[in-house]
Amino acid sequence: MLRFLAVRLSLIALTLLVVSVLIFTITEVLPGDAAQQQLGQSVTPESLEALRAKYGLNRPAHVRYLDWIGGMVSGDLGDSYKYNKPVINVVRPRVFNSVVLAAFAFLVAVPTAVFSGVWAGVRRNSFGDQLVSIASLVGISLPEFVTGVLFIVIFASALRWLPSSSVMLPATNPLTRPSILVLPTLTLTGVLFAYIMRMTRANVIEEMQANYVRTAILKGLSMQRVIWRHVIPNAMLPTISVIAVNIGWMLGGLIIVENVFAYPGIGSLLLVSIQSRDVPILQALALLIAVTYALSNLLADLSYGLLNPRIRVS
């Protein structure tokens, strides 16, 4: 078990190394550096050079990479080009906002999805199952911006129950204004629910066909007991891994959802920083996302390893 963890951790470390190089390379390739963005079109080469020197943009690539990595490790992520503040200060409140949103979406999606998945899988091909399957199919098919806009049309414009955008004053805690959280959460939940539900259903169906389920049935156990004590615990193993991986996936969803609702989280910050070529912020966010992805994968592996007796008890 410990070996298992150690192997996984080292693989993650390796992957993150590759990732950091990737991030750095891609952001370097972005045309028009921040200095140019800031100063605009009509600018003298001298002032451009001066600004570049100030940001350290005139040093060779590998020096800048090592500098960045060094900074990362020691906790100094540099200053934002656009906001002229330390990256951490810009990023921190946004991270908090996104975490709130993601947490709510997760808390709503996971229990409902798992429950429906089990319910549908056990009643395979029944009317209820078909209904849920169709609903989940629609769920994974609709892009978040479509559902988001749809919700705005229905709940904000037509019914006027909720605000149409989630714009807040900076430094506001979103928890103090729950109404702006509802629609973004619902949108994010939609796709999350659909994916997890489908996976759960597939896993349950697969386990139902296993030989040990036949043994349990022919032992004279009630179908109730067979499902709860035999099928579900085994079906949950791969499902929990999938759920953990979805944490990472949600980050992609955040980009669109935050844009649709103008919610001040890391998604919208990411878009802004790309447009303004605010490289330090961009790099920091990209790395943050990659690390979250990696950690969610680790969590998935860990939970699978802990819960699966084949791995836990060698």
């Binding site: 892009p143 996936w249 844009n259 649709v260 996302i289 390893g305």
Partner: protein, 325 residues
């Protein structure tokens, strides 16, 4: 939207001592009686088009395929079928749906229905091309790496893992911003972004097939490696490839429309469904219909492709025998 990748669940299981290798075989080879009666259908599984034909046997496929075909027809014939030119200012601004303009007009007075129909071509073309590119690259990388095994495989998989550590939307945003947003670059971006997840899937099936005896047989004949991969192994991956291709297509459409929504799709004045929805937000309160047509279009297309995917998946289980005697 990120990649819902097939999760590799845990390390391979240790072999059980005391149980013979032949045990695993007794279930299949001993069914001397139960041949695959639908052997020709099995042959059809060997061709990609055959997959789609088989999908028609399932309820999901029966709805999905026509839906997709409908979109394809509109994509190809759109510019001719549309009542007005997509960039022409034919009516007053923000007119509600009427007999003259079935889906209303947008903020410039252009007919929305015509714009939607004309926009079908670009998004479908870009998605199909991008998905195809991703599959081609991913298959090459995944199969070669999987067959080779050893250190090379490890290194390649680390790099693929690295590429998959971002949501594909983020990668696409970064790449497109660097290269500039035009159709060719979008195709390239989608292709590159999909290479990693496709390579994982293809590698996985290559790993399981390369231990099969017919591959060992080919090795003993002295067949060169490319021959083994493409002539012996590849035909057996087609069922998996078809499903993956379908899934990638739906992701490609999602990605392309999301990029359009964020302003990085096909540039105006060409109609782009995502961009149309994004722009409609300004008028959502006074003119909600502006978002409706493109939303329905993109939703039905993706639903169609997903139904088709489900159809292909279910069809794979149809020809197999259902009982054990």
């Amino acid at each position: 939207m990120a990649n819902q990748d097939r999760l590799e669940l845990g390390p391979p299981q240790p072999a059980d001592s005391g149980v013979m290798a032949s045990q695993a075989v007794t279930g299949t080879a001993r069914t001397g009686l139960l041949r695959t009666t639908n052997a020709r259908a099995t042959a059809a599984l060997g061709s990609l088009l055959g997959q789609f034909r088989l999908a028609l046997r399932t309820p999901a496929g029966r709805i999905g395929l026509p839906l997709v075909l409908l979109h394809l027809i509109i994509a190809l014939a759109g510019p001719w079928l549309a009542p007005y030119a997509p960039t022409a200012f034919v009516g007053s601004q923000l007119e509600p749906p009427s007999w003259q303009f079935l889906m209303g007009t947008d903020q410039f007075g252009r007919d929305i229905l015509s714009r939607v129909m004309s926009g079908a071509g670009s998004i479908i073309a870009v998605s199909v091309a991008g998905a195809a590119l991703g599959i081609a690259l991913g298959t090459l990388v995944g199969m070669a790496s999987g067959y080779k095994g050893g250190r090379t495989d490890e290194v390649v998989m680390r790099v693929m893992d690295g590429l998959m550590s971002f949501p594909s939307l983020l990668m696409a945003l970064l790449v497109l911003t660097s290269l500039g947003a035009n159709a060719a670059n979008i195709v390239l971006t989608i292709g590159v972004v999909f290479t990693a997840p496709v390579s994982r899937v293809m590698r996985s099936i290559t790993l399981s097939l390369k231990t099969q005896e017919f591959v060992q047989s080919a090795r003993m004949r002295g067949e060169p490696v490319p021959y083994i991969i493409f002539r012996e192994i590849l035909p057996n991956t087609l069922p998996v490839l078809a499903v993956e291709g379908s899934v990638r297509l739906s992701y490609a459409i999602l990605l392309a429309s999301s990029l359009g929504f964020l302003g990085l799709g096909v540039q105006p004045p060409s109609p782009d469904w995502g961009l149309m929805i994004s722009e409609s937000r300004r008028f959502i309160v006074v003119a909600p219909w502006v978002a409706l047509a493109p939303a329905v279009a993109v939703a039905t297309l993706i639903v169609g492709v997903n139904l088709l995917t489900d159809g292909i998946r279910q069809a794979r289980t149809l020809p197999r025998e259902g009982t054990q005697v």
